[in-house]
Symmetry: C2
Subunit: 348 residues, 2 copies
């Protein structure tokens, strides 16, 4: 893996993004922001699954007003998502949000951005310049491809903020097309010192969207690019957070709860590995500690992988060997597989 | 993206792997191979979702014998998965399989591999040298890390086959650990001209396994490495194939059926985008043609992304605009969203 790109650290409330800070997992509420109770409940659900930053759409004044009550009830830093109307950014700041996202494609005149940046500077609140391929400003240089256009739009906004001596900047350049997104981030990563928020926009429902998001985000992380990630799914936001941590765990960039190794099963397996693995995965969702658990179906890789795990089970016909840190600790009967394995996991 | 690594093309029955051939999607049956009917049925299911190569475990002589009847009933090339006993490889060849997979970690003495390679050469049948971190041969150089050990084990087997003037070789080096897997493939990609089968081993059930597999496979593909892919999931094999194509589509490496762009929804949306997107995804599973469909929740990126799609819908309060190739073609009521969108998709 490429070493992580060095970026300037910024603070969004209590959460550091960039520098040597862990790569931050974030999501966004999907409730009507004006519905204070349902929005608070969704933010609490996100906190429960360790979502570290929560973005909230602010489409109108009533939503900006609702932020005051929401802020009082939650502990995750809140980022107000602003489009079109810069005055909503000012109202969100007054409500106490810890971060802003502005879309240069629709925020309008530089004077408006200047007004917002000054208010942010007074409060020490960072701004994400959130460029999106689906909402670029109209007049683009037709000689540039979409990736280059996104970079140009971001750079124009960055230069404006820098001219105001404001540098609490985070940048994103999202497209649905993965190669376009990667090209844009690779380019801007070399041009600016600011932390990067990475993701694939409008990636779709979980079945296809998790894969598209993972392809884009993991490739960028492998290249050393990305300080905070958001998996965009047409699904409850909790799913975005779970997927985000799985990406980071797969690249050994963060620990977060258990890791499950399980074989795909094949004509060699003599027990129902697919159902056993799914049952173990369900049980592991309740466990917070980082522990590596292996569920293996046969003698080929079974003992090898099970040994490498903290707790592992290598199944044969009707019975299995239970391993702990490479040591066989018991032989168990098929009816006890799940219970015996989970008992060891709890005990570990 | 890096240009694809140049590799020697080999033919597994009617399917070319390597060279300029499209990256091949493969899977493996999970039925008891000796149960001929259930194995044939699963292979037909795999053929139905465009699985291009099917691997079948051959744990004993009865399974090898079953291959004869299986071969007669299916059209996808069959690869026999052999561990421990080289005689099963010879029997599988007699049953007519188009490919073999040998695990150097357990196949035993060079003389045995030599016997198998000679039989393969007579028939023009390729061998995959399938190294797995969980089943390396016992005596490994302790100064080498796991990635280096996997490469060394593969290279020893490759040199043996080359010394027999046999070059219908494909290689895989799979670990559960993604960085280890990537390191191993990057190394061997520079050492040999043969096509590479890529994947992450024992990646787990779908929730975590799809992400882990996608992280490993997509990063390698981005680096230009990989001629055939297998997504390993503790799940029905059909899920592996669907995931495999989604990875290839996300990197624009292959077309395969529809692509769905859909927004994650947020506090700005005035319709239930999550349910609409999932319903559209369900409907699109029935459609084979490559078509890009967008389901967007609001005016921010909605019209931009919907315009870029073949057929798109950009929703507002209670109604939406239907787009076709960038042109507005209708305004539709909320109750008609799904039906009107799918009617246009069918017509396209």
């Amino acid at each position: 893996m490429n070493p992580r790109r060095k970026s300037k650290a910024i603070k969004i409330g209590k959460v550091t993004v960039g520098g040597n800070a862990p790569i931050v997992v974030q999501s966004m509420t999907k409730t009507d922001t004006r519905n204070v109770m349902s929005t608070i409940n969704q933010i609490k659900e996100l906190e429960d699954c360790d979502c570290e930053l929560v973005r909230v759409a602010v489409p109108d004044r009533e939503a900006a007003e609702a932020l005051k009550a929401i802020k009082k009830a939650v502990s995750a830093p809140i980022i107000a998502d602003i489009h079109f109307d810069f005055r909503l950014a000012l109202e969100a700041l007054n409500a106490g949000v810890e971060g802003l996202r502005l879309n240069p494609g629709n925020i309008g005149e530089p004077e408006r951005v200047t007004t917002v940046a000054k208010a942010c500077k007074e409060r020490g609140v960072p701004i994400r310049i959130g460029v999106n391929a689906g909402s670029l400003p109209r007049a683009q240089n037709p000689k540039l491809n979409v990736a280059e256009q996104m970079v140009e739009v971001a750079m124009r906004q960055i230069r404006l903020l820098e001219s105001l001596n404001y540098d609490l900047i985070k940048v994103s350049l999202k497209a649905f097309d993965v190669p376009t997104t990667i090209e844009a981030y690779k380019d801007i990563a070399q041009k600016i010192p600011y932390p990067l928020h990475i993701g694939i926009t409008e990636a779709g429902p979980p079945r296809s969207g998790i894969i598209r998001s993972t392809v884009g985000i993991s490739t960028l992380l492998y290249l050393g690019i990305g300080d905070t990630i958001r998996v965009s799914l047409s699904a409850p936001p909790r799913e975005e957070v779970i997927a985000g941590y799985e990406i980071l765990k797969s690249l050994s960039l963060r620990q977060h709860g258990p890791i499950l190794v399980s074989c795909p099963s094949c004509g060699r397996a003599e027990v129902d590995i697919i159902n056993l693995a799914e049952a173990v995965e369900e049980e592991l969702l309740k466990i917070k500690k980082p522990i590596k658990v292996a569920v293996m179906g046969c003698v080929v890789n079974g003992p090898g992988e099970a040994k490498d795990a903290d707790i592992g089970i290598a199944c044969g016909k009707g019975r299995a060997i239970l391993f702990k840190k490479g040591e066989k600790i018991a032989t168990i009967e098929e009816k006890d597989f799940l219970v015996a394995l989970m008992a060891e996991v709890e005990r570990f």
